[in-house]
Amino acid sequence: MIKRALRAVGLVRLVKYTAAVEQQKKAELRARKLAQQVEEVRADSRGWKAKAEEAHDQLKKAQATVAESAKRAERAEKLRVEAEHRLALDGKRKVDLVALETQLEESARELAFAREQLMAIEVKLDILEGAANVLDGRTRTVSAQRRTPEREPTV
């Protein structure tokens, strides 16, 4: 009865009161811990968000790199094909070059030979020209000597 009366005026026994205060303290402590945990979780969440953004950026970069690499690979392939083509062409050109060098040497030899022959021919022409001039002079002299008496008046 007393308990009911006390309860009706809002009074409780000390034991209960003490237990309630203790419970309140525990609740407050828990509430503070929870608030702290919430704060930590919020902080973590912000960190993760930043990391997620960073990861996103890196992903974008990686994707760009991959695209660039793909392009490069494509270009490298083209170059490889071109190089192989050129190599083949160079091989042919080397063969052509050797043939041209041989031809050039042969031409140089023939030119030297032709020039040697030309020298001999020009020297011989000099001699022939000289002889022709000498013979021409002698012929004219003889011819003039023969003509002179014919022009003399006959008696």
Partner: protein, 362 residues
Amino acid sequence: MAGPEPCRLSVGHPSVNPLSSQSDGTGVVPPADPFVSLVLTGRNDDHGADFKARFFRTLRFNHRELSARGILHEFVFVEWAPLSDRARLVDMVFNAIPELDPSVCQWYVVDPRYQQELSLNPRLVYLEFLAKNVGVRRARGRFVLTTNCDVYLGRKVLDAFARGELKSGVVYRAARHDLKLELGEVILDWPQLEDPLNLDGPPRRLKPPFMTGATGDFVLLDRMTFHEIRGFNEIYRVARIGVDGNFIVKALSCGVPVVDIGGPVYHVNHRDSYHLSRDVYVGREAEAPWGNRRWHSAGVIYVNPPTWGLSHAPVRQEGPHRWRVDFSWDAVPPLVDLKRIVLPAARLGGPEPGTYKYVSRS
């Protein structure tokens, strides 16, 4: 058609008895073997002004210096085509140089018809190298030096003779130092010859690869090799210039090396010399008295006929040590003998023959 005989030399042979050369009918009776024969040619035609005086001065000097060193020598003088209205040099030389011993002279007077019949260029009034061949063919010395009438032998040349260390099968050349024109009037001796102030320009050097440059003033070779080479070119009678250098090309082609003897000879400049007057005919080369100076003298050689040096010409003795080379068609080679112009061989280690240089023929 058979070509000319190939060039085969027995280089390195010993000196031979000069009497063996008598079989070719040159008419020479040698008293003894000189060490060196100096082959000279000229005539009393005032070539280069005052030719006689220059010749006699040089002859006196060379004879004196050779004799002073005890070098057995002879002068083989070829008076080629002497002018009919002038006295002959042979009739003046011993009066002009009383100390000249006639026994060291062989004097050949060559009938002027050879000049007339052999010339292939009327502007060449003196076939100098054919004349020298007449002397080379008849020289008796172990060595034969073809030189000119106004060339003084230098001290080192004389020393080389005196040492007697000349080798067979080697062409010896000497550079020519030209002395000033005004010195032509004075009697020269060593102080004037060797004074650098008397030089007309820087001293000449022999020009490689053929060691040419005034070659006609000094070509020294043992007689036998000279004969095997058959002297100077007698086929190309169109130019005078380059014939001496052409001999060097032929010698090299035959495997005969060309060597500098070690010292110069001296030449006094004179009027009408090629050295002084070569530029007068620029642009009108055909009128030059030496012919076309740009002919291919380094690019071709020749094979003279076995009758080179007018060896088939009749030779008459006119007096002691003087002979007359009379005219005979037997001694005259054909006007044209083209197969005797051939290409030189390039010898291993020797210089390459000359290459073609274009020269306008107009």
